[in-house]
């Protein structure tokens, strides 16, 4: 008897559980949005974008559109991002935020010179967030290899953030007043003491090696001449002269390489710094 009751209970439980379970629509737009929000927080933008897109087929949601715009910018799908953001330009609460992100896209695609001519047109200009556009304008100077920006305007724009101010100031001085090594000094120093020019360009071990090699060849030449081994003496004199000349030439090349490396390192540092900070554009 008990067995029969338990059996019935079990089947009833199974029936009702499956009935209740089947009533939940996991693929409803609301659930998709919740899942997409979770994916967005996990930075899984590719999947979040797909879920949000399906959600937008049923509902109108400006927050979702703005999120999609920002995700697409991060995924470097700029033209798609522009389309989503432009939907918000008129009659939306997020109009200004969308316009700011639109300017970020323009900044990333028009660098370095054309961005400032674009901002000059003030097309869809985000008046509320104009300080961020000004920051973008100032940052764009760092990607330009010619001309000097007005340092007062540049420092003033970043004055609200102490770290940004410090870094911008540092980048400004490193870019426009770099501590380059003089090729003439490098050559002159190497001519006086072989290897000193390389030490001047911070190639310390090369400098010391050049000094040893030159000294050794000169000593061998001198000792061979002293020992009346004239042929060997002239061979080492020749070698010594070639190493000496090569070292002077190499010091000039080393100074050139040092200067090139200086600007390459700086441009990489600038690029990494501002990308990490999302170019000082807030994420909404």
């Amino acid at each position: 008897m008990l067995y029969m009751i338990l059996k019935k209970c079990f089947f009833l439980l199974l029936f009702f559980t499956s009935l209740i379970y089947s009533q939940t629509n996991y693929l409803s737009p609301e659930n998709r949005k919740l899942f997409a929000d979770y994916l967005y927080n996990q930075d899984d933008y590719l999947r979040a974008f797909d879920e949000y897109r399906i959600y937008l087929q049923t509902f109108e949601n400006d927050t979702v559109k703005l999120k999609i715009g920002q995700m697409l910018i991060d995924m470097k799908r700029y033209s798609e991002a522009e389309d989503y953001l432009k939907m918000l330009f008129w009659g939306s609460l997020f109009s200004e935020e969308a316009k700011l992100n639109y300017y970020l896209i323009k900044y990333k695609t028009l660098l370095p010179r054309d961005f400032r001519s674009f901002t000059g047109q003030r097309l869809y200009y985000p008046e509320k967030y104009n300080i961020y556009v000004k920051k973008l304008e100032q940052i764009s100077y760092f990607y330009q290899s010619y001309g000097n920006p007005d340092s007062t305007i540049m420092f003033e724009t970043f004055n609200d953030d102490s770290l940004a101010f410090r870094k911008v100031k540092e980048f400004y001085y490193r870019k426009y007043y770099p501590e380059k090594k003089s090729v003439h000094w490098a050559a002159g120093l190497s001519a006086v003491i072989p290897g000193l020019g390389k030490i001047y360009t911070k190639n310390y071990s090369d400098g010391v090696t050049a000094f040893i090699v030159n000294g050794l060849c000169a000593y061998l030449a001198y000792s061979n001449f002293n020992a009346k081994h004239l042929t060997r003496g002239w061979i080492f004199t020749g070698l010594s002269a070639l190493f000496y000349g090569g070292n002077i030439y190499g010091s000039i090349a080393s100074a050139n390489i040092f200067n090139a490396k200086l600007s390459l390192d700086l441009s990489e540092e600038i690029s990494n710094f501002f990308s990490d900070k999302n170019f000082y554009i807030p994420k909404f």
Binding site: Y204, D206, T209, F243, G250, I252, I257, A260, K261
Partner: protein
Amino acid sequence: MKFILFFFISVTITAQTDYLRWEKKNSDYRKKAIIVEVESNNKNDFFSFILSNSQKVYKTVISDVDGENCPFYPSCSTFYVESVQTGGIIKGTLMFFDRFTRDLNIFRDRSIYYELPNGKLFDPISNYLLKPDKIKLKFKD
């Protein structure tokens, strides 16, 4: 019944595709050759001719036997030939002696060079032509 069994077994056998994954494959451990085109107005003069032929002899008689020991890319012998072809005998020789001094450096700071996937240090001729706009600090395939 026999037909069903035959059908079942034949489908089961043909569905096994794992052998494709586990089949024997001939591995190729050879490193990809790196070729850099030197942007230069090569001078095919007398010295270049002598040097390039001397390099061929050196490669065959010494380098192939001794092994590829130069830490730089291009190697010192290639550097000399190409620098003479690019800059002439005097400039090329000075470039080579500078390179040779750097090769002799046993306390070499590897961080100042761009390291290639095969462990060689990228040190192209263009960096030593004294033309700052020609300097290549990174290797691009």
